[in-house]
C-alpha cells in the first residue's frame, strides 16, 4: 500500500502539467453537465415549483359574465372548482410607459386555489379600497415598488389612482413580459371603478382536474359547453388557459436552451471519456519501461492497475468537485433567476442530482482508465524493451514523395504517422472529437446571432406592439424609425376538437403590399382571404399539414381557410394560424379597430430606443420577446464549453506529441546517421506529430459543420419554433479556428521537439549511442 502511494505521489509531482490538464478537463465536463441538466425542463422550472406551492389551477376558464358555477361541481373529471372572480383589462401608466394589465378582483381572504404568495408588503386589506397587489414579475418589469402610486387607465381612458400595498407571485400565468398582460389584484370596488359595466367584466373560475392531458382538458371544456348550452343556449366558455400551456410557454425558450445544452452535455459525456482515455492510454504507453520495472520490483499487476486507476480517479474527483463549484459560481448570479422578488428562492439542482452527475463523471473516468490500465497490467515485466520500430517498409507513397524530391523530413515524418495505427488513431480522434463539439458550439453562437441580427429570418419581422388612441398613425408619425405598422387582432381560440388553444392572428391584409412579412419555410404566403399560414406548433397540435383546409371558431363565427404555408413563429411557440384581417370581415366579424399594431422598425433601429420614443408620444408599447434574449444563457455556456473543449483538445495534443517524441527518440540517431542535419531531424519530429493533429482538426471541423445544421434544426423543430433556424458560422470564424489549431499544434510540437533535441545536443554521444541518451 505504501509503495503504491509513494509511486502515485511521485508520479503526480513529476507530471504536474498533465495532472492539471486532466483535472481541468473533468471539471469542465462536470460543470457543463450540471448546467445542462439545470435547464432541462422539469428539473428546475421555477414556475413548476411555484405552481405546486400555490395550489395552482389546472384550467383557468373565462366564462360569460354571470355564469353560475354550481353546475361545474357535478361534471366528471373535475376535482375541485375554485371560487369565481371577476376581471377586466386596463392599462397601467408608469413612468411614461403604458403597459397592458389585467385587474383581478379578490377579497381580503386569500383564495384556496391559485393562492398568490405575498413576497412583499401585504395582501388586500379590508378598509383599503385603493390598495392593490401587483404580480412580482410585472412589478419588476415596470419598476413599480411598494407604496408606489400607480395610474390605472380603463378602456374608456378614465384614470384611477391606486396604491401598491403588496407584491405577490402566482402560477396562473407566465412571467411578464413573456406573458402579457401584467396582473394586478384589486378589491372588487376598485375593479368596479375601472370597469363600471358589470357585463364587461369577465368571470373567471379555476378548475382542478382528476388528471391532466390535452385530451382530458378538451373533454372538460366540451362538457362544460354542452352542459351550459342546454341551459343558456349559448357557448359559455369564452376562452381558457391551461397550466400545461403556461408551463410550456414558460419553458418554451428554456426548452430550446435546454435541448441545446442537453446536446452539449451528451457530447461532452462522450468526449470526456475519450479525452481521458486518450490521456491515460498515452501515459501508459509512455510508462511501458517504468511499468515493467515496477513489476520486476515486485508490484503485482493488480497493484499496477490500482495505481493507475487510483491516480486518475483522484484527479477525477478533484476535477469533479471543482466543476461543481464552478457551476455554482456561474449560476449564483442566477441567470435562471425568476423575476425579481420571486418567493421561490431558486437553488440550483437538488444536492443529490449534482452528486449523481459528479459521481457519474468520476465513474466514467474510472472506466475509461480501466482499459489502458488493464493493458498496463499485462505489460511484460521484462524491461528490455527496445520499442519495436513501426512495421513500415517505406510505403509507396513515401517512396514517391522522395522521388519527386519532397523534403526528406516531410516524407519521413509523414511515413511514421501513417504506419503506427493505434497511437495515430488515438491522436486523430482525441483532437477531432473536441473540434466537432467546438464547431457545433460556434454554430449555435452564430444561430443565436442570426436571431438577434436578422429577426425577420426567424419570423420576428415586427419587434414592437403598439396600442393606444394614436396607434393607427404610428407609421406616419415616425417614418424615420418605423418601417411599417400592421393592424392586428389576436384571438386565443379553441382548437377544433377542443384539445388545446392556439392563437388566431388576423394581421394586415391578405394580399398586396400590406401583408405581414412572415418568414415562410414551407409552401407559400397567403394571398387571398381564404388562405392562411400556420406555425409548426399549430400543425403539431391539430395534426394538419400544409395544403389542408381548417375551420376555426372565432368570436362565435366560423372561419374557414386553407393552410398554404408554414412559418417560423417564435412568439406563440408556433401555435399560430395567421391570415389577413379581411378574412375576418368576409366572415362577418368586424370591421373593428385593431387590438394593436405590430410595428416593424427600420433596419438598424434598436427596439428599446424606438419604444422609448413612441411611448413619449402617448402610445403604449411592448417589445416582442426575441428568443435570443433568453438564449443569452446559452452564449455563456458556449464560451465555457469552447474553453473546456479547447483544453481537452490541447491535453490530447500534448499527450500525443509527447508520446510521438518519446517513441521516436531512438530513431533520431538513425536519422542523423543517414545524413539529416539536426535541424532536419527536428523538422521530421515536428512534421510527424503535427500531421496527425491537423488531420484531427480538419476532420473535426468538417464533421461538425455537417452535423451542426441537422442538430440545431432538429432542436428548433422540436421546440415548436420550427426548423431552419440554423445559421452557420462565418467563413472568417472557421478560418480563425483552423489557424489557431494549426498554430497551437505546431507550436506545441516545436517546443517539445526542441526540448527533446536540446537534451541530445548536450550529450554528443547521441549520434552513436542513442539508447544512452537520457533526459
Amino acid at each position: 500500500m505504501r509503495g503504491t502511494i509513494r509511486w502515485a505521489r511521485a508520479d503526480l509531482r513529476a507530471r504536474r502539467g498533465q495532472a492539471l490538464l486532466t483535472i481541468g478537463a473533468v471539471a469542465g465536463v462536470v460543470a457543463a453537465l450540471v448546467l445542462a441538466t439545470m435547464l432541462l425542463e422539469g428539473a428546475v422550472n421555477p414556475w413548476k415549483a411555484l405552481f405546486a406551492r400555490t395550489h395552482g389551477a389546472d384550467m383557468v376558464m373565462y366564462l360569460a359574465h354571470g355564469t353560475d358555477p354550481e353546475a361545474l361541481d357535478h361534471l366528471p373529471r373535475i376535482r375541485q372548482v375554485g371560487v369565481p372572480y371577476y376581471t377586466a383589462p386596463a392599462t397601467l401608466e408608469q413612468q411614461a410607459v403604458k403597459s397592458p394589465v389585467q385587474l383581478v378582483a379578490m377579497g381580503p381572504r386569500l383564495p384556496q386555489m391559485s393562492t398568490p404568495i405575498v413576497v412583499a408588503g401585504s395582501w388586500l386589506r379590508g378598509g383599503d379600497a385603493d390598495g392593490v397587489v401587483v404580480e412580482a414579475s410585472f412589478a419588476a418589469a415596470v419598476h413599480a415598488g411598494l407604496d408606489d402610486q400607480i395610474r390605472v387607465q380603463s378602456v374608456d381612458a378614465d384614470v384611477v389612482l391606486m396604491k401598491i400595498i403588496g407584491i405577490a407571485d402566482t402560477a396562473d400565468q407566465g412571467f411578464y413580459p413573456q406573458w402579457t398582460p401584467g396582473l394586478i389584484w384589486v378589491q372588487q370596488a376598485a375593479l368596479n371603478r375601472v370597469e363600471p359595466i358589470a357585463a364587461e367584466q369577465e368571470e373567471v373560475v379555476g378548475l382542478r382536474l382528476t388528471s391532466t392531458s390535452p385530451q382530458v382538458e378538451g373533454e372538460v371544456a366540451q362538457n362544460i359547453n354542452d352542459t351550459y348550452q342546454s341551459y343558456t343556449g349559448r357557448l359559455v366558455i369564452e376562452r381558457f388557459s391551461t397550466a400545461a400551456q403556461v408551463e410550456a410557454s414558460m419553458a418554451s425558450n428554456d426548452r430550446l436552451v435546454g435541448l441545446l445544452l442537453a446536446v452539449f452535455g451528451i457530447i461532452a459525456l462522450v468526449a470526456a471519456p475519450c479525452a481521458i482515455a486518450n490521456v491515460t492510454a498515452g501515459r501508459v504507453l509512455m510508462y511501458r519501461q517504468d511499468i515493467a520495472m515496477l513489476k520486476a520490483l515486485g508490484f503485482t499487476p493488480g497493484q499496477v492497475i490500482r495505481m493507475l486507476v487510483g491516480t486518475q480517479m483522484l484527479l477525477g474527483i478533484v476535477g469533479a468537485c471543482l466543476g461543481v463549484l464552478a457551476a455554482r459560481v456561474v449560476t449564483a448570479p442566477a441567470f435562471v433567476r425568476p423575476p425579481a422578488g420571486s418567493a421561490v428562492g431558486l437553488a440550483p439542482l437538488p444536492g443529490w442530482w449534482v452528486t449523481l452527475i459528479a459521481a457519474g463523471v468520476v465513474a466514467t473516468v474510472a472506466v475509461a482508465t480501466l482499459i489502458p490500465a488493464w493493458w498496463a497490467g499485462r505489460v511484460s515485466p521484462v524491461a528490455a524493451v527496445r520499442v519495436t520500430p513501426p512495421r513500415g517498409h517505406l510505403s509507396r507513397i513515401a517512396r514517391l514523395g522522395l522521388l519527386v524530391h519532397l523534403p526528406a523530413p516531410l516524407v519521413l515524418g509523414a511515413r511514421d504517422s501513417l504506419n503506427r495505427r493505434l497511437p495515430a488513431l488515438l491522436t486523430v480522434f482525441g483532437v477531432a472529437i473536441p473540434l466537432v463539439v467546438i464547431t457545433i458550439a460556434l454554430s449555435c453562437w452564430s444561430t443565436i446571432d442570426g436571431f438577434k441580427g436578422d429577426p425577420a429570418r426567424i419570423g420576428l419581422a415586427a419587434t414592437l406592439n403598439v396600442t393606444g388612441p394614436s396607434a393607427a398613425g404610428v407609421h406616419d408619425s415616425d417614418r424615420a424609425q418605423v418601417e411599417a405598422a400592421f393592424p392586428a387582432d389576436s384571438f386565443p381560440t379553441l382548437v377544433p376538437g377542443g384539445n388545446g388553444t392556439f392563437t388566431a392572428l388576423a394581421i394586415g391584409d391578405s394580399a398586396g403590399s400590406r401583408r405581414y412579412p412572415f418568414h415562410v419555410v414551407q409552401g407559400s404566403m397567403y394571398d387571398s382571404p381564404q388562405q392562411a399560414v400556420a406555425g409548426q406548433g399549430f400543425l403539431d397540435l391539430t395534426g394538419l399539414s400544409v395544403g389542408e383546409w381548417v375551420t376555426v371558431s372565432i368570436e362565435g363565427r366560423n372561419v374557414t381557410v386553407r393552410i398554404v404555408g408554414r412559418v417560423l413563429d417564435p412568439v406563440d411557440n408556433g401555435d399560430v394560424l395567421a391570415f389577413g384581417r379581411d378574412a375576418l370581415t368576409k366572415q362577418g366579424i368586424g370591421p373593428q379597430p385593431p387590438q394593436y399594431y405590430s410595428v416593424e422598425l427600420r433596419p438598424g433601429v434598436s427596439a428599446a430606443a424606438a419604444k422609448a420614443r413612441l411611448s413619449r408620444n402617448g402610445l403604449s408599447v411592448t417589445e416582442v420577446a426575441n428568443p435570443a434574449d433568453s438564449l443569452g444563457v446559452v452564449r455563456v455556456v458556449i464560451v465555457v464549453s469552447v474553453v473546456v473543449l479547447a483544453v481537452i483538445a490541447l491535453a490530447n495534443l500534448l499527450t500525443a506529441t509527447a508520446i510521438g517524441l518519446r517513441d521516436h527518440r531512438h530513431e533520431t540517431g538513425v536519422l542523423a546517421a543517414i545524413g539529416l542535419t539536426p535541424r532536419q531531424v527536428m523538422t521530421t519530429l515536428v512534421v510527424n506529430t503535427t500531421i496527425l493533429t491537423l488531420i484531427g482538426v480538419a476532420g473535426g471541423l468538417v464533421a461538425g459543420l455537417v452535423v451542426a445544421p441537422r442538430l440545431i434544426n432538429m432542436q428548433g423543430r422540436s421546440s415548436g419554433l420550427g426548423a431552419e433556424i440554423y445559421a452557420g458560422p462565418s467563413a472568417l470564424m472557421v478560418a480563425f479556428v483552423v489557424c489557431i489549431s494549426v498554430f497551437v499544434a505546431t507550436s506545441a510540437a516545436v517546443l517539445l521537439a526542441r526540448r527533446t533535441m536540446s537534451g541530445f545536443m548536450r550529450n554528443e554521444r547521441w549520434l552513436h549511442e542513442p539508447e544512452l541518451a537520457t533526459g
Binding site: A14, L297, P301, E771
Partner: protein, 247 residues
C-alpha cells in the same frame, strides 16, 4: 552443500511466434548455494537472459522445476511472484533500472515500502545505502542526472535494500564505460563478500571471472559448470601468461 538458495531441474522455455516454436532454454539444471556468486556466460542467443527472467519469475517457465529457498515456485501466479520478489529476489537489469518519475531517494525507498516498512524505516535504510555508495548528495536528484555507473550502483543498492535471498543481475555493466563498470564491479564484490548469493549474466569475462562458479550456456543448455580456480602465479608471471613481450 547445505540447502541451495536456488535449484532448477529440467527447466525449459519455449517461445511461440507465428506458429513457429523457438526453444530459448531446454533442460537446464543449475544450483546456487547460499552466499555463492555464480556467473552465466554464453554467446548471444544462448538463452542467458531468458534463463534469468524465468528464474526471477518475470516470464513463466514452459517446463521444469524451480526451487527457491526450498519452495517450489515455477507455477506461481504473476501476483504471487511479485510478492515473492519483493522480499527474496533482487533484480538489476542492463539499463532502465530506475523509475524516471521518482527521485533517486524515492527509487531506493520503494522496495522497503513495498515490503511493508514504514516510511521512517525506509528512509533510514535509504540513507544507509546511499551513504555507503557515497551518493547522499544526489539523493533528491532525478535519475537522469546521474552517470551510467552511478545509476547502476543505485540500482544495485536498491535491489539489495530488502536483503534478498538472491540477487539476479542481467549484464549490469553492459552499458557502462570502463570506470562505471569498475565501480559496479567493486560494489558487486563487496556485496559478495557480505555473503549475498548472486546469479549474474555477463559476456564480460572481467565480471564473470570474479564469480565462484561460471556456468556456460550454449544453445539453450548448460555446456559447462565449473568453479573459477585462481591458478596461483607469481605477480611477475600473470601478465606473461597472456602477453609475451618480445623485442
Amino acid at each position: 552443500m547445505n540447502d541451495p538458495v536456488l535449484r532448477t531441474r529440467g527447466l525449459a522455455k519455449v517461445y511461440r511466434a507465428d506458429g513457429v516454436a523457438a526453444e530459448a532454454i531446454r533442460g537446464v539444471d543449475i544450483e546456487v548455494g547460499a552466499g555463492e556468486f555464480v556467473a552465466i556466460m554464453g554467446p548471444s542467443g544462448s538463452g542467458k537472459s531468458t534463463l534469468l527472467h524465468v528464474l526471477g519469475g518475470l516470464e513463466p517457465a514452459t517446463r521444469g522445476e524451480i526451487w527457491l529457498r526450498g519452495q517450489r515456485v515455477e507455477r506461481l501466479s504473476t501476483a504471487a511472484w511479485a510478492i515473492l520478489r519483493r522480499r527474496h529476489v533482487g533484480f538489476v537489469f542492463q539499463s532502465f533500472n530506475l523509475l524516471s518519475n521518482m527521485t533517486v531517494a524515492d527509487n531506493v525507498e520503494l522496495p522497503a515500502l513495498l515490503a511493508g516498512a514504514s516510511p521512517k524505516q525506509a528512509r533510514k535504510r535509504r540513507e544507509e545505502l546511499l551513504g555507503e555508495l557515497g551518493l547522499t548528495a544526489k539523493a533528491h536528484a532525478a535519475p537522469s542526472r546521474l552517470s551510467g555507473g552511478e545509476q547502476q550502483r543505485v540500482a544495485l543498492a536498491r535491489a539489495l535494500a530488502n536483503e534478498p535471498s538472491l540477487l539476479l543481475a542481467d549484464e549490469p555493466t553492459g552499458n557502462l564505460d570502463s570506470i562505471g563498470a569498475r565501480d559496479v564491479l567493486r560494489l558487486l564484490q563487496r556485496t559478495h563478500d557480505n555473503g549475498q548469493a548472486i546469479l549474474l549474466v555477463s559476456h564480460d569475462a572481467r565480471v564473470a571471472s570474479r564469480a565462484d562458479r561460471v556456468i556456460h550456456l550454449f544453445d539453450g543448455m548448460v555446456a559447462d559448470d565449473a568453479p573459477v580456480i585462481r591458478a596461483p602465479r607469481p605477480v611477475r608471471d600473470v601478465v606473461g601468461d597472456v602477453l609475451e613481450l618480445r623485442g
